[in-house]
């Protein structure tokens, strides 16, 4: 077991007063708190800082730690607590951060409830909630669908953390939207002793679709048109999530125009969202002499300038 230098972790000297320790903790906690900092290693850093503060903020626990620190400065390799070491200030986790179950072996052995008194831990804590991202295809979200969920759950046994692979079949309700969370009761971390298991939350992420964009319960499809289809009007076949439909494009349609197709969006609790056809005008890649002449003739006859207001 490695000795943890909590003063070093908080960036304070061992003779710092409690106010300086608090200030240092707050500064680092703001920087690394996983709810504020999305970096992958922020949570690990926060856990270290929180563990250090958990010990140093409490005068009695700090005094005990200082004793251990003094003992650790002996030149022997590794760290072993002094013979017969027992804290008078055991940590029970009830007031602490939600990350306390991930505190280091050093903390758990010296101050933790699962150190030398395993029965104390078994009295109580409910298993931790877990959250995983669940990718769902738009086609799956249209109707109720079942998905297989596989995930790892940490299990604490004899002071060690092992990961157990779990797999569940889950019915995803129809009309689920991006960012929604589904709760699976009792499928999270295992509770200690008789305490209940935590829950598993599936954070729904709609997989980007090659054709459709999602706006709430509405779908948007970008419809490419030739300039003459936009000018003269056209009938085009549009794919939807449940089949194809025919859409009439009016003459003189503009790029960026949105046409509403009622009821062809995502399922909702009360019905269906809509689909919007977003018009886009695409120029042909090249033109032969005959086509060029026709464009030329159009330019002369249409007598239209989209930059008219710039000349004022």
């Amino acid at each position: 077991m490695d000795f943890k230098d909590y003063y070093q972790l908080l960036g304070v000297s061992p003779d710092s007063d409690s106010k300086s320790i608090k200030t240092a903790y707050r500064k680092l906690a703001r920087k690394y708190h996983p709810d504020m900092n999305p970096d992958a290693d922020a949570e690990e850093k926060f856990k270290e800082v929180a563990e250090a503060y958990e010990v140093l903020k409490d005068t009695q626990r700090r005094a005990e730690y200082d004793e251990l620190r003094e003992y650790s400065s002996r030149p022997d390799a590794g760290f072993e607590p002094p013979p017969g070491w027992q804290t008078n200030n055991r940590f029970n986790g009830t007031e602490s951060t939600h990350f306390e179950s991930d505190f280091s072996d050093f903390f758990n052995s010296m101050f933790g409830a699962n150190g030398s008194e395993p029965e104390q831990r078994s009295r109580g804590s409910r298993g931790q909630d877990a959250e995983i991202e669940m990718p769902v295809f738009l086609e799956e979200a249209v109707s109720e669908t079942s998905k297989l969920v596989e995930y790892l759950i940490p299990v604490y046994e004899a002071g060690q953390v092992n990961e157990v692979k779990k797999s569940l079949k889950v019915k995803i309700p129809a009309g689920i939207v991006d960012g929604e969370r589904i709760r699976l009761k009792g499928q999270g971390g295992y509770g200690q002793g008789d305490a209940p298991h935590g829950d598993l939350y599936l954070h729904i992420r709609l997989v980007p679709h090659p054709l459709f964009d999602v706006e709430g319960h509405n779908l948007v499809i970008t419809v490419p048109l030739t300039p003459w289809e936009a000018a003269l009007g056209a009938k085009v076949t549009i794919p939807t999530l449940t089949g194809k439909i025919n859409l009439t494009i009016a003459a003189n349609s503009r790029a960026g125009q949105r046409l509403r197709i009622k009821g062809k969006g995502m399922r909702t609790k009360t019905g269906n969202g809509d689909m919007f056809a977003l018009l886009k005008i695409v120029m042909p890649p090249s033109a032969n002499d005959e086509v060029k002449a026709l464009w030329q003739s159009l330019a002369e006859k249409a007598a239209f300038s989209p930059r008219k207001e710039w000349s004022n």
């Binding site: 926060f46 939600h98 929604e180 699976l184 209940p196 935590g198 970008t222 977003l278």
Partner: protein, 100 residues
């Protein structure tokens, strides 16, 4: 097939570390989550999104040792940030289709 639930009760939240009924009432008073289930806080139910923000708020309240007014502002900004990020991604994706 595993049972899917979209609600969390006050009693269930109170089984999680850091939660008490009083803390939940405090968080609701500051607009962090909107409960369903009437005037009696013991009967409140939260949808999964509400429960998610309550958990975040309680963590921040404890870990950063900041008061509820500041927490409600932080949660509000985090929600705005999340929604703007999602909107920005959606616009980027739509723009990509439009200028291809």
């Amino acid at each position: 097939m595993t049972e899917v639930v979209m609600w969390v009760s006050v009693g269930e939240l109170c089984q999680c570390g850091g939660f008490t009924e009083q803390i939940i009432v405090e968080a609701v008073d500051h607009g962090i989550a909107q409960p369903a289930g009437g005037n009696n806080s013991a009967d409140w139910m939260f949808d999964t999104a509400g429960a998610h923000w309550l958990r975040k708020a309680v963590r921040l309240h404890h870990d950063l040792e900041i008061d509820w007014i500041a927490i409600s502002m932080v949660v509000d900004l985090l929600q705005q940030n999340e929604s703007l990020k999602r909107q920005s991604l959606a616009f980027e994706q739509q723009l990509g289709r439009f200028i291809d």
